[in-house]
């Protein structure tokens, strides 16, 4: 099992931040404090009423303090998703 994020580099990842936002993009780099570089990123905004909204964001450095989850995305599976039909409650922010 990989103990670091090395195996995720140059792959599509989903970053969930501590305020409950979800960013999808290419993980370009990271460091020990989990500051991450995410390229071609977009934010997916979930809503119970309309389908998922995607906001293009480009190149970002997200500070590790704010990163809750880094998940590897299976591109095939992701492309099969029909985002317009998906309705979901937005995530809450992290509670300590």
């Amino acid at each position: 099992m990989a103990s670091g994020l090395d195996s995720f580099v140059n792959h599509t990842v989903s970053i969930i931040t501590s305020d409950g936002r979800n960013f999808i993009g290419t993980l370009k780099g990271f460091d020990q404090t989990i500051n991450v570089i995410i390229d071609e990123s977009h934010e997916r905004v979930y809503s119970t009423t309309s389908g998922v909204e995607q906001v293009m964001l480009g190149l970002h450095i997200i500070r590790g303090d704010n990163v809750a989850i880094v998940g590897l995305i299976d591109d095939e599976l992701d492309n099969r998703l029909n985002l317009a039909n998906i309705k979901a409650e937005p995530l809450n922010s992290v509670v300590h």
Partner: protein, 133 residues
């Protein structure tokens, strides 16, 4: 690639910084350090609500208060270029040092030269123990 190296490469580029308190700062990066503290110039500060704006010639922002940084896309291409140049340099020095490692002090000089480079290389962890001066 390390986030801090990307940030160092982005010096003199415009960027957007959002702080944990929700304020956003648009400005050109003057300098940054290992703690992500940054110096920006020609800064426009936007309040959390997006209704108030201030312009200031420069400002210093503590790294710990940054939520994220939005960097222009061309910067990532510049970092790739830097990595290629560094690797070329390393191969050349490694060739010489590898042959004469025991005899020549130049090999040790190469060691110092490598860690002395501002980018610190992609493989070195950012919090390496620093030798006392």
């Amino acid at each position: 690639m390390l986030p801090l190296s990307l940030l160092r490469t982005a010096q003199n580029h415009p960027m957007l910084v959002e702080l944990k308190n929700g304020e956003t700062y648009n400005g050109h990066l003057v300098s940054c350090d290992n703690w992500m503290n940054i110096n920006l110039r020609e800064v426009i500060c936007t309040s959390r609500d997006g209704d108030k704006f201030w312009r200031m010639p420069e400002c210093y922002i503590r790294g710990s208060t940054i939520k994220y940084l939005r960097i222009p896309d061309e910067v990532i291409d510049m970092v790739k270029e830097e990595a290629v140049v560094k690797n070329r340099g390393r191969d050349m020095k490694g060739g010489r040092g590898g042959q004469n490692q025991r005899n020549r002090p130049a090999a040790r000089g190469n060691f110092g030269g490598r860690t002395g480079k501002p980018g610190q290389g992609g493989r070195n962890p950012p919090f390496q123990k620093q030798k006392p001066k």
